[in-house]
Symmetry: C3
Subunit: 307 residues, 3 copies
């Protein structure tokens, strides 16, 4: 994989994804295996891809202009477990010089004088691309408005690959906010690289939408149920749509295949009953953990040739 | 001590506290002694309880939903001085996915995929217990509303033990907000394990309260004066009570025993004159520093068997 | 250099500045040179001033009460690249115990129990001096209202010295907010130690100000053009002044000497066209990077005798 930045999913080929999955697997096996914590060199190195004596002594700037738990924490955890240090900002709009009128471009240009890699979440579409234009160092798009969230899509895909052993041939059912969820947009683009069947179920309806049909049939057929919340903060108006009366619960699970899996990029806000977490088909917490390892792999690959 | 979490003070026996005090003393002697900073291995290890070659390479998630200086900083300092790394959030409500409607349970479940230990401050009673139900990793209650603040109580007790060499037989006078200060509630519960005499002086009064009597006598008799601020943010209404016209100053100190000590969990907001800090009986700054070492001991004990 | 704190520029002699510039140059050469990242000891040490085996295992508390990008990040990056750990607070007013009524003095006294060095930005004049009175550890003033910003002034001066090889004899033109910009106030005080010619151009006007004269002549003559934004947040009222219609652009550059340099302490808010960054005379991004190395030198010097 030879990319300077991670800005959108369109930049990835199927070969890139294969390479990412293999490296992620190596990293995950390493960290989840025995004994790594007994070797004091582990925080400096990793035993993959580079000789042990090469330290990962990079500085990550984690610049978030919108709320986040999973994405920010998993990048920060991933980076530190590899041995790196951090500049972490949860509220860029309020606490950076942008509060004094600085442009995003100047902020990024400033930070790229210090940091080796920048994670950026921003409410505006293409913010990461604009950042990449002025940055000396790799930019990772951690969500630009309702547009893209490429590392989430890669970790979703990795989770399907890891859980089902293959992506080709899967029947994937999206239930949620197809219009505004950037995670769905990004994942669907990647799925175009594979031979999969994709179905949808909107979690809301408007006067113009057709009625709710076939939900039970879709559940029965799917191999992967990918749930998202309604992205109300991005709706044209708070009452533009009405939520459907669907909560994925044990009743839904009972209609699904024995080897199906349920994914959710989080946060959950009512469209999925947390009690079903006890069912092993609910893979959303393995998905969270996978995300940390995928991000380790992505940062390693971006920084591999940085010096 | 065999506890998975630190949720409230009721979980501690007198034997647990003895064990904590001994380990804390070892750690404090080590860090305040000569030469530790010259040994490059020190950040990885500690010379107590475990062989030197075992690194403390844990990741702490410090999740604060309410303002804090002492508690958050002393945990974060303690953890880093032991060699650990951190996810630090001062404003969980505003910057995490809880701003998008995520439940505390899901946030904790997410973070426990990455972190080895979680410090939680939350305005709701029993928030830490709810977190412990869903967490894969140890939870430390850093204050749940006006309910409990167990690590503060342990460090308060450690300070009395360290300063007075024993806890049994002490006369302990609480001056402050007995009704709403979680630090007092937690400390008083621990003091029940010892043979001590406890007295009170409220820092405020209502129509229903008896008049102010015996303050001077109480001061004269006490070995430990434990001061807290009025917890106005937790009062039923801002004008539910009126503050008494008492500020602990040189006049009060002059009435106290030569070997008495004055503690305050902070923050001070007027009930104690900062000028008396020059009197060696004012132990509140030693108390702050002790807190860091107590928290090192507690985290070491919780993480001892985590892998 | 023998200073316990860095509070204002008046404390520095020309000899101090020479010493700072030499140490900064050593550090900068070291970090920008080849190979440092291949030596796993580098995060612990530095090859200047102290033997390699002495670790820089200090804890920095970065306490910001006002928005910042450059200053906070460059201190935090500098400190971590040297090997240190951090307590970082971008919003002290909202998330520390000051939200519960604690005084700045008590906050600083608390933090100085844990930290080895404190960086403080605060809206009130002389806040850093008050902090120094109660702190056990070095305080670095990172801006106290419209008063002082000494480390910015030192890095500005270092940049002039590095770019022009000497400070004596330079013609320095300030364009911006002479009245309220603390960076200008601090830098001008340091320039008094040298044999330089200083000129001004206000970026705003009031009824009482003389008209705009001689801008083109000043541009032609200057060796260093130092631009600042209008500090509107510190103006007596939002409409106390009106901005002049001046934006430093290619037209201005074309009037300047071939070897002149353009500095800006950031953030830019319209008084300078970002497109001119392509002209090598625009040194503001080298200035940002220099700032990190200057801050490494300053922290090394303050901490040299701390144990």
């Amino acid at each position: 994989m030879e990319h300077k930045h991670i800005l959108n999913v369109n930049q990835f080929s199927r070969e890139d994804l294969d390479e990412i999955f293999v490296l992620t697997t190596e990293i995950q096996d390493f960290f989840e295996g025995d004994g790594h914590q007994l070797d004091p060199r582990i925080n400096l190195v990793g035993n993959w891809d580079e000789p042990l004596e090469v330290p990962y002594d990079y500085l990550l700037a984690s610049l978030f202009h919108e709320a986040s738990t999973r994405t920010r924490f998993s990048f920060e955890a991933a980076h530190q477990k590899l041995g790196g240090t951090m500049l972490s900002v949860a509220d860029m709009a309020g606490t950076s010089s942008q509060a004094k009128g600085e442009t995003l471009a100047d902020t990024v240009k400033t930070v790229s004088q210090f940091a080796d890699i920048i994670c950026l979440r921003h409410p505006e579409k293409n913010a990461a691309e604009k950042a990449a234009e002025v940055s000396n160092v790799p930019i990772i798009n951690c969500g630009d408005g309702s547009n893209e969230h490429p590392t989430q899509a890669i970790l979703d895909l990795y989770t399907i690959w890891r859980e089902k052993e293959t992506i080709d041939g899967q029947n994937i059912l999206f239930f949620g906010d197809i219009r505004f969820a950037r995670t769905i947009r990004s994942l669907k683009t990647l799925l175009n690289l594979y031979d999969v069947q994709v179905e949808h179920e909107l979690c809301f309806y408007s006067q113009a939408d057709p009625g709710d049909r076939g939900w039970n049939d879709k559940l029965k057929d799917c191999d992967v149920l990918y749930i998202t919340r309604a992205q109300k903060e991005r709706w044209p108006s708070p009452d533009a749509y009405r939520l459907k009366n669907i909560v994925v619960s044990f009743a839904e699970l009972s209609k699904m295949k024995e080897d199906a899996i349920v994914l959710h990029p989080g946060p959950r806000t009512g469209e999925m009953n947390p009690q079903i977490d006890v069912d092993n088909r609910v893979a959303m917490w393995r998905q969270v953990k996978n995300g940390m390892y995928v991000r380790m792999a992505l940062m390693k690959m971006l920084l591999r040739h940085s010096r």
